[in-house]
C-alpha cells in the first residue's frame, strides 16, 4: 500500500488522495550539444473535482506539462501524480482521458465507432460499449450523427465526438490540450459552456491548456500563468465563480477584473 502513495514531501493529505499534483517538475531536451530547458520547477495542485487551466505564451511548455500527466513524455526531474499514482499507472488504469486540438478521429470509423474506441480497447462488451457511447453522444449533443463519418462533420462536431470518446471511460481526470483551439470564436464559446455542463454532470477533474484568457476564466477554479521558456508557473489566480456558471458569467464585473489580472500576469 505504501508503495502506491506519493512521497509525503509537503503534500497535503487532501491532494495526495485526489487531485493532480506536479512537484518541482523540470524538463530538459537534449539534441546533440544543444540543451533546451522547457520546464523548470513547476509545481501545481489541482484538487479532485476542481478545474484548472494553464495559460502562457506559446512555447512556454504548458502542453509539455499536460503531456507529462498524460504519460506521453517523462519529466527529467520532479514528479507528477494523478490520484496519488504515477502517470504510467494512471494510464494503465485508464484514470484520465486526453483531448487534443486535433479531434483525432479514425476516418474509416463512423462517429459511433470512433466514440466506442476507448471502450473497445478496454475490452468492454459490444452491447455495453454501444450503450455507453450512445449515452455520451447524446450528452455532447451529437445525437442523430452516430452513423456519419468524421469527414462529413464540421470541426466543432468532431471535437464534440472527441469529448464523447474521452468521457466513455468515465475518467476522473480530463486532460485537454487546446481542445477548441482550431474552432471559430462562436463555436468555441458554445462548446465552452457545454463543456461546463458536462463537467458538472460528470464531476471530472479538469486540466486545460489554452491560449484564450476568457476560456481559461470560464472553465477554471484556478488559472495558472506560465512564463516563457524555461516554463515555470509564475502566478496562480483563483476564479471565484463557483459551480453553477452560465453565459451571464461574462457580464459579471469580476470577469473583466480576472481578465485584466491575467493579461497583466501574462505580459509581465
Amino acid at each position: 500500500m505504501d508503495g502506491s502513495l506519493p512521497d509525503p514531501d509537503g503534500m497535503t493529505a487532501e491532494t495526495a488522495a485526489g487531485g493532480l499534483v506536479a512537484r518541482d517538475v523540470g524538463m530538459v531536451y537534449r539534441r546533440g550539444r544543444e540543451v533546451t530547458e522547457a520546464l523548470t520547477g513547476c509545481s501545481l495542485e489541482v484538487p479532485r473535482g476542481s478545474w484548472a487551466s494553464l495559460i502562457g505564451p506559446s512555447g512556454c511548455g504548458k502542453s509539455t506539462l499536460l503531456r507529462i500527466f498524460a504519460d506521453l513524455v517523462h519529466p527529467t526531474s520532479g514528479r507528477a501524480t494523478l490520484h496519488g499514482t504515477t502517470p504510467a499507472d494512471a494510464r494503465a488504469n485508464r484514470v484520465f482521458a486526453l483531448v487534443s486540438q486535433q479531434s483525432t478521429m479514425l476516418p474509416w470509423r463512423r462517429i459511433l465507432e470512433n466514440v466506442e474506441l476507448g471502450l473497445q480497447v478496454a475490452r468492454v462488451s459490444p452491447r455495453e460499449r454501444r450503450r455507453t457511447a450512445e449515452e455520451m453522444i447524446e450528452l455532447v449533443g451529437l445525437k442523430g450523427f452516430e452513423r456519419a463519418y468524421p469527414a462529413e462533420l464540421s470541426g466543432g462536431m468532431r471535437q464534440r465526438a472527441a469529448i464523447a470518446r474521452a468521457l466513455t471511460l468515465r475518467p476522473r481526470f480530463l486532460l485537454m490540450d487546446e481542445p477548441f483551439g482550431a474552432l471559430d470564436e462562436i463555436t468555441r464559446e458554445k462548446l465552452n459552456f457545454e463543456l461546463l455542463r458536462i463537467l458538472q454532470e460528470t464531476g471530472a477533474t479538469l486540466l486545460l491548456v489554452t491560449h484564450s484568457i476568457s476560456e481559461a476564466i470560464i472553465l477554471s477554479d484556478e488559472v495558472a500563468v506560465m512564463s516563457a521558456r524555461p516554463g515555470r508557473i509564475t502566478k496562480r489566480v483563483p476564479i471565484g465563480f463557483g459551480r453553477d456558471r452560465d453565459r451571464s458569467l461574462r457580464d459579471d464585473p469580476r470577469f473583466a477584473a480576472y481578465e485584466a489580472e491575467l493579461r497583466h500576469a501574462l505580459h509581465g
Binding site: R91, E138, A148, K190, R247
Partner: protein
C-alpha cells in the same frame, strides 16, 4: 444545479452545413459521364476501322497483322479452346496473386513489429526484387516441372514486392496523434494493428493489388512461353508456330480481357472496402 436554458442538447447550428450539403446532392444529368464513355469508344472504333482498312487493302500481309474481322472469326473457330486455356492461366495467376500478396502483407506486419528483423531483412528483400526472375525461370522449371507450380511461384514472387513496400508504408501511415491516442488508451500492439494500422493501410494495400492485378497475368503467360502444356502463353506459342496469326491476336485479346477483369474486380473491392472515401 439546473442546465442553462440557452444550451441546447441537440441540433447545434454547426451541424447544419453538413445536412444542407446532403439535401443539395440531387443527381444531375450525367453529361460528363456519358462523354467519359462515349469519347474513348469513338476513338476505339476509329482505330478498329483504320486497322480493318489497312489489312483489307492488302498493304500488310495477314500473316503479320490479322484484320479485326479475321480475329473475330478466329474467336468463332477457337473460342472454346482459348477459354479453356484462359482458365488455366487465370488459375495460376490468381493463386500466385493470392500467395504473393498474402506473404507481402505478412512480412510487412512482421517488419512493423520488429525493427531488428526489418533492418536485417528489408535490404535483402529489396535486393531480391532486382533479380530478373524470368532469367531463373529455366531453373524453376527444372525444380518444379512444367506444370502450374513454377508459374505460381513466379507470379507470387512478382506480386510480393509491391505488396511488401506498400503495406509497410501503409502500416506505418497512422498519424502521430493517432498513435498518442492509442497510447493514452493503453492499447496493446495487437489492438493497434487491428484497430489502426491495418485499416489505415487499406488504401496502400489496394495500390499494391492494382499494380499486381495486371502483372500477375503477364508473368503467368511469360512463364508459360518457356515450358507448359496448357495456358494462354502455351497457346500463343502453338498458334505462332502454325502461323495462325488471327488466333494469336485473339488469344492476346482474351488475355487483355482477363487482366482487365482482375483489375476491375480489385477496383470494385476497393470501393466496397472504403465506404468512408466514396460517400
Amino acid at each position: 444545479m439546473t442546465l442553462p436554458e440557452d444550451v441546447p442538447l441537440t441540433a447545434q447550428p454547426d451541424i447544419l452545413p453538413a445536412m444542407a450539403r446532403d439535401a443539395a446532392a440531387l443527381p444531375p444529368i450525367p453529361w460528363h459521364r456519358l462523354r467519359r464513355i462515349a469519347l474513348p469508344l469513338a476513338v476505339l472504333f476509329v482505330a478498329l476501322g483504320l486497322w480493318q482498312w489497312i489489312t483489307a487493302s492488302g498493304r500488310v500481309s495477314p500473316l503479320i497483322l490479322a484484320s479485326p474481322l479475321a480475329i473475330a472469326e478466329a474467336f468463332g473457330r477457337s473460342g472454346a479452346e482459348i477459354l479453356a486455356h484462359m482458365g488455366v492461366t487465370l488459375g495460376q495467376a490468381m493463386a500466385g496473386f493470392a500467395i504473393g500478396n498474402a506473404l507481402g502483407l505478412l512480412v510487412a506486419i512482421i517488419f512493423v513489429h520488429s525493427a531488428p528483423i526489418r533492418r536485417a531483412v528489408y535490404p535483402v528483400a529489396i535486393g531480391a526484387e532486382a533479380v530478373p526472375v524470368v532469367a531463373v525461370l529455366p531453373v524453376l522449371i527444372l525444380w518444379l516441372g512444367n506444370g502450374m507450380a513454377p508459374k505460381i511461384v513466379i507470379t507470387a514472387f512478382l506480386t510480393f514486392f509491391p505488396m511488401l513496400v506498400n503495406a509497410l508504408r501503409g502500416l506505418r501511415s497512422a498519424d502521430a496523434e493517432v498513435k498518442e491516442l492509442m497510447h493514452t488508451l493503453s492499447a496493446d500492439a495487437r489492438q493497434t494493428l487491428w484497430l489502426v494500422r491495418l485499416p489505415a493501410s487499406v488504401p496502400f494495400l489496394f495500390n499494391a493489388l492494382k499494380l499486381s492485378a495486371c502483372a500477375c497475368i503477364v508473368s503467368s503467360i511469360v512463364a508459360e512461353w518457356l515450358a507448359a502444356e496448357r495456358g494462354l502463353g502455351h497457346l500463343i506459342v502453338v498458334y505462332g508456330a502454325r502461323y495462325q496469326t488471327a488466333e494469336v491476336w485473339a488469344t492476346a485479346l482474351a488475355a487483355t480481357a482477363a487482366s482487365l477483369a482482375v483489375y476491375g474486380l480489385v477496383t470494385l473491392a476497393e470501393r466496397l472496402a472504403m465506404p468512408w472515401k466514396t460517400r
